[in-house]
Amino acid sequence: MSLAIPCPRCGPRPFEEFSFGGELRALSSPDAEGDFVRVYLRENAPGPQAERWFHAYGCRRWVTVVRDTATNRIVPGG
C-alpha cells in the first residue's frame, strides 16, 4: 500500500508517482526459444526482484530497483 521508490534524481518518492514497468528482462535473446521465454514468461517469484519503474509524475525517467515481492520492501543497494 505504501512504498517509497528511490529515484536517483528525485530521491525517495511515493510509488503513486510511478508507473510499474514489470520485471527487468533482457532486451533480446539469441534464439527463438529464449525469446519466447523472455517475452511471455514471468518469474513472479517471492523474494528480491529487479524491476522497472517509470517516474511519470516526476522526472519522467526510468528507474531500476530491487524489490522483495514477498515483503514489498525495496532492497537497498540492490
Binding site: 500500500m1 505504501s2 512504498l3 514497468g21 535473446s29 517475452v39 511519470a56 519522467r60 526510468w62
Partner: protein
C-alpha cells in the same frame, strides 16, 4: 433553554461534558435503537464506541454512535429503527419467530417461485436495517493530506501518551491520534490526571496530538488512514504503536442484550463522568479487580449495588432488565435489579495490531496486556517507543450460557451459530460469512474472539477452524465520503478550442481524459460536408512527440516495424507500434523533419504509455536520443474535404499544391499568420491537411479557417462523424476494434510490417505467430439491416464473432461494419448473420477503395 438538543419533538437538556448518549439517558430514554433483524430493544452497553447498541441519527446522519458523539445545543437527534417507533415496534414479532428462522431464512424461503423474491425483498428491505441514507444530500468533498511521521501512536491513553512522550524525547517526529478527546473515556481521577500530565510532557517534547482523529486501518508500509472531523490523513509512519486499549469482555447469556445490561466501564463512565445513574438497583457481576471501584462509583451516584462473583445464567425482563440469575459457588441466585453491570475481563481492541504485517507495528498497554495497571501501561508504552513489545497476553473468554447474542450488530445468537454449525459451516471464517457474525459496524470488536472460541471449542473442528478471522480495514465505522477523500477531483483535459466548440453548439463528451465534441448538432450533415465540401476537426488531443538526437533515427528504426531509415525529410509514413509480444499497442504517423529529427504522432489515449515506452528504450539501449512530449504544447486542426485546399490557399502564401505537398507529405507553412506544420493525411479518406500549431494560437487559426471556408460551406465535425468517416475507409479504432492480443495479421495490417527489416520490437514474436494460421481476424462487413455495435456474428446458428463497429453509410449506400470472425485452420465462414440481419464479408475500404480521393 438554548442549551437543549432536540430529540423527536422534545427538548433534552445538555450538561457540560455530555455525549448524546448521556444526555438522552439522563432524560429517561432507555431504548436507543432496535436490533437489525429481530427488532430487540437496545440501549447503551459499552459507552466506549465499540458496540452498535446506541446508534442514532444525528443531524440527518444515520448510524452515529451516541456514546462517542459530543452533545451540543441545537443538535437534532432521532432514533431510526423500529416501526412505527423504536418504543413500540411491531416488527418485534420477528423476535418471537426467531426460533423458526434459521440464518439465511429469507433467501432460503423465498427462493421459489422465483417471482416471490421481487415482493419479498421489498418487505424485507423495509423491515431490516438500522437507518436510512440521507438521500439527496450532496456529499461533503473532503481533502486528503499525506502526513509523514517517524512514529504514529494510535490511542491517547496512558500507554499511548507514554510512548509518545518517550519517542518524542529523542527528537523523533511523533503524531498521536485518538478517536475522542484525551481523558474522555476513563472516569477515575487518577487515570485522568495521569493522562493529562503525560499529554503535557508529550506535547512539551514535540509530539503532535490529534484528537477526534480515528485510525481506521493499517496497511503495509506501515500506512494508516486517519479520519478526522474535516479531512482524511494518509499517515506514512516509520513505526506504528497501537495503544488502542481493550473492550470489556462481552458475555453470552439469554437476555444479554436487554437495555439495562452494561459493561462495567460504561456504567461507571455514565455515573462517574456524567453524573447519570444507570438505574436504581444494580447487580454487579465481577471477576476483575475493577469490580470494587465500579461498585463505589455507582453507589456514589445513588445506586444500590449488589456485587456477586459467578457466571450469569440469564437476564430477565421485557423492556429492560428486571432480574438476573447468577450461578455462584453456593448455587444459582436470582437477584431483582434494573441494571446488570458486567466486569468479566477484557477483549483487546487489537484490530489494527492484527492488520499489521510489519515489524514496525507494536502494541502497548491494554491491547497487549489486557487489564494492566496504569504503571504497567506506562511502562509498556515507553518500551514500545524503544522498539520493544510484549507478546500479547491471552485474555480468557467468558464461558457461554445456554443462549444469547454473540454478535450484537448482526443479531446472531449462540443458537444461530449452533444451527449453522449443524448445517455444515464448520470454521470461524466460513461461519462468519454465512451468519455475518463480526461483519457489522463493530467489525468484530465485541464478538470476534467469541466466534473464534465457539468454532475452536467444537469437537469436530480441526485446529485452524477456530482461529480469529482475518482482520481487515476498517477497524472503526466510517463514512464512504471519508474513504473518498481526495478522489473527487476529476482531471479533465481540454484543447484550446474547447470554448469555440461550445460557442458553435458542440456537445462535449469525455474521451479518455479529454473533453471533445461528439457533434455540433447534425452528424449526417457533418459527414456530408467532409465528403462533398470541407470539414474542420480539432485533433489537438493526438499524442505528439519530437524525437531528436544523434540516434533518433536508430531508435525509431529499431522500434517500429516499418522502415524509418531512408524516410526522406518532408515525407511521413503510417506506422503501427508493436509490443515485444507482437501485439499492436498503438498506431500513428512518423514524419521525417530533416537533420535527423522526427515527429511522431500517435493516438490520443496512448500518449502516456507511448512516452514511457520510448524513454525505456532510449535508456536501456543507451542511445543518444531526446524525446519531447509536445502533446500539450501543440494544437492540431484537421481540414478535410474536396475543397480543403482552396480554403487553405486563401489563408497562406505557401505552396500547398499536390505537387509540392502531396499525400503523406508535410511542410512548414504559415496559415493566417500562424506557423504550422501541415501534414497531408487521410484518416477520413479525403484530401486532408493536419495543421499542428502552437496551442495558444489555436482559436485564431480556427476562426480564420471557419471564416475563409464560408463560401465552401465549411462545417466543424465531431467524434460521431469521425467514427463513420473512418469506418467507411475501414480504419480501425485501437481498443474498440481490437483486443489486447491482436497481431498485425489478425487486423489485416500485415502490409504495415516490413518483413525485410532485420529487427524491430516484436519481430521474433511475429515470426512465431505468422507461422500459425490466425484463429480469428477482423473483417469488413456489409449488413442488410440497422447498425448495431457489439452484436454477435453467427453462422449456421453458431456464434462465430462479434461486430465491433457499424454505421449506416450514406456514401456507400449500405450499413457497413467491422467485426471479428473465428476461423478453423485459416478458413473463415462466409454466410453470416449479424444478430438477425444478413451480413456479408467484403473487402475494405468500403469507400474509395483505390484511395483516389486522397491523391489530389
Amino acid at each position: 433553554m438554548g442549551d437543549d438538543l432536540r430529540f423527536e419533538g422534545t427538548r433534552v437538556a445538555v450538561e457540560a461534558g455530555d455525549t448524546v448518549a448521556s444526555a438522552l439517558y439522563r432524560s429517561g430514554v432507555r431504548t436507543f435503537t432496535r436490533s437489525l433483524k429481530y427488532h430487540r430493544r437496545r440501549g447503551p452497553y459499552c459507552l466506549t464506541g465499540d458496540c452498535p447498541n446506541c446508534l442514532v441519527n444525528v443531524d440527518g446522519e444515520p448510524g452515529v454512535r451516541a456514546c462517542t458523539t459530543v452533545a451540543s445545543p441545537g443538535q437534532v437527534v432521532r432514533r431510526e429503527a423500529g416501526w412505527p417507533s423504536p418504543d413500540h415496534d411491531l416488527l418485534n414479532v420477528t423476535d418471537h419467530l426467531h426460533p423458526l428462522m434459521p440464518v439465511s431464512f429469507y433467501s432460503k424461503t423465498f427462493i421459489r417461485p422465483r417471482s416471490a423474491w421481487r415482493w419479498a425483498e421489498r418487505v424485507i428491505r423495509r423491515a431490516t436495517g438500522i437507518g436510512r441514507l440521507p438521500m439527496g444530500r450532496a456529499p461533503r468533498l473532503r481533502p486528503a493530506t499525506t502526513l509523514h511521521a517517524d512514529v504514529l501512536v494510535v490511542g491517547g491513553g496512558v500507554a499511548g501518551l507514554a510512548a509518545a512522550a518517550e519517542a518524542a524525547s529523542d527528537g523523533r517526529r511523533v503524531v498521536v491520534v485518538d478517536e475522542g478527546r484525551l481523558g474522555e473515556k476513563p472516569w477515575d481521577p487518577v487515570t485522568i490526571e495521569r493522562i493529562e500530565s503525560l499529554a503535557a510532557s508529550a506535547r512539551a517534547a514535540g509530539a503532535e496530538i490529534l484528537e477526534r482523529h480515528t485510525a481506521v486501518g493499517l496497511y503495509e508500509g506501515p500506512f494508516v488512514p486517519v479520519v478526522g472531523p474535516d479531512e482524511t490523513l494518509h499517515v506514512e509512519a516509520g513505526r506504528v504503536i497501537a495503544a488502542t486499549g481493550a473492550v470489556e469482555a462481552h458475555a453470552v447469556f439469554p437476555g444479554n442484550d436487554l437495555p439495562g445490561v452494561f459493561l462495567a466501564r460504561g456504567a461507571a463512565r455514565l455515573a462517574g463522568r456524567h453524573g447519570v445513574a444507570p438505574g436504581r438497583r444494580a447487580a454487579l457481576v465481577t471477576t476483575t479487580d475493577e469490580g470494587a471501584s465500579t461498585a463505589s462509583v455507582l453507589r456514589d451516584a445513588g445506586m444500590e449495588v449488589e456485587a456477586i462473583e459467578g457466571s450469569v445464567v440469564a437476564a430477565e425482563g421485557r423492556r429492560r432488565v428486571r432480574a438476573v440469575v447468577v450461578d455462584t459457588v453456593t448455587g444459582p441466585r436470582r437477584i431483582a435489579c434494573d441494571t446488570l453491570v458486567l466486569s468479566l475481563g477484557w477483549a483487546p481492541r487489537d484490530a489494527l495490531l492484527r492488520m499489521g504485517t510489519d515489524d514496525e507495528v507494536l502494541g502497548a498497554g491494554d491491547v497487549v496486556i489486557p487489564g494492566c495497571s496504569i504503571e504497567a501501561a506506562e511502562e509498556s508504552g515507553r518500551r514500545a517507543a524503544r522498539g520493544q513489545t510484549d507478546p500479547p497476553v491471552d485474555a480468557p473468554i467468558v464461558p457461554f450460557a445456554s443462549d444469547g447474542y454473540v454478535c450484537l450488530c448482526e443479531d446472531v445468537s449462540l443458537h444461530d451459530l449452533e444451527r449453522s454449525w449443524a448445517e455444515g459451516w464448520r470454521s470461524s471464517e466460513i461461519l462468519k460469512r454465512y451468519t455475518t457474525t463480526t461483519m457489522g459496524p463493530c467489525q468484530g470488536a465485541v464478538c470476534g474472539r467469541l466466534l473464534a472460541s465457539f468454532a475452536g471449542a467444537r469437537a469436530d473442528a480441526v485446529a485452524t477452524r477456530g482461529t480469529r478471522t482475518t482482520a481487515r480495514p476498517p477497524a472503526r465505522p466510517l463514512a464512504l465520503e471519508d474513504l473518498a477523500a481526495g478522489v473527487d477531483e476529476v482531471i479533465e483535459r481540454r484543447t484550446s478550442l474547447h470554448e469555440r466548440h461550445l460557442e458553435l453548439g458542440g456537445r462535449p463528451i469525455h474521451s479518455g481524459a479529454w473533453m471533445r465534441p461528439s457533434t455540433f448538432g447534425d452528424v449526417r450533415e457533418e459527414i456530408r460536408s467532409v465528403r462533398e465540401r470541407v470539414g474542420l476537426m480539432d485533433v489537438g488531443t493526438l499524442a505528439k512527440f519530437l524525437v531528436a538526437g544523434r540516434d533518433a533515427e536508430e531508435l525509431l528504426d529499431r522500434i517500429l516495424p516499418t522502415r524509418v531509415r531512408g524516410l526522406a525529410p518532408g515525407r511521413s509514413r503510417y506506422a503501427i507500434v508493436l509490443s515485444e509480444a507482437g501485439y499492436v499497442v498503438d498506431d500513428g504517423l512518423i514524419a521525417a523533419l530533416g537533420d535527423g529529427r522526427f515527429f511522431l504522432c500517435t493516438t490520443s489515449g496512448g500518449a502516456a504509455s507511448m512516452e514511457a515506452w520510448l524513454r525505456d528504450r532510449i535508456d536501456r539501449w543507451a542511445l543518444h536520443a531526446h524525446l519531447l512530449d509536445q502533446t500539450s504544447e501543440l494544437g492540431a486542426i484537421l481540414v478535410a474535404g474536396p475543397t480543403a485546399r482552396s480554403v487553405l490557399e486563401r489563408l497562406t502564401e505557401d505552396d500547398v499544391s499536390a505537387t509540392t505537398l502531396p499525400h503523406m507529405a508535410h511542410a512548414r507553412i504559415t496559415v493566417a499568420g500562424v506557423r504550422c506544420r501541415a501534414l497531408r493525411v487521410g484518416f477520413v479518406g479525403e484530401l486532408g491537411f493536419e495543421l499542428h500549431h502552437p496551442r495558444s494560437r489555436g482559436p485564431e487559426l480556427y476562426d480564420a479557417l471557419l471564416e475563409a471556408g464560408r463560401t465552401e460551406g465549411v462545417q466543424p465535425f465531431g467524434l460521431d462523424a469521425l467514427d463513420v468517416l473512418r469506418l467507411e475507409k475501414g480504419h480501425i479504432y485501437l481498443g474498440q476494434d481490437t483486443l489486447p492480443d491482436d497481431h498485425p495479421e489478425k487486423l489485416g495490417l500485415s502490409w504495415a510490417v516490413d518483413g525485410d527489416k532485420e529487427d524491430f520490437v516484436g519481430k521474433h514474436a511475429l515470426e512465431r505467430m505468422f507461422a500459425i494460421p490466425p484463429e480469428r481476424k477482423l473483417v469488413g462487413l456489409r449488413i442488410e439491416g440497422a447498425p448495431a455495435r457489439g452484436i454477435p456474428l453467427s453462422s449456421g446458428g453458431r456464434v462465430v464473432g462479434r461486430v465491433t463497429s457499424a454505421a449506416r453509410s450514406d456514401a456507400v449506400g449500405a450499413t457497413v461494419g467491422l467485426g471479428w470472425l473465428r476461423g478453423n485452420d485459416g478458413t473463415f465462414p462466409t454466410d453470416l448473420r449479424a444478430g438477425d440481419a444478413v451480413a456479408r464479408v467484403v473487402p475494405t475500404p468500403f469507400y474509395d477503395p483505390e484511395g483516389e480521393r486522397l491523391r489530389v
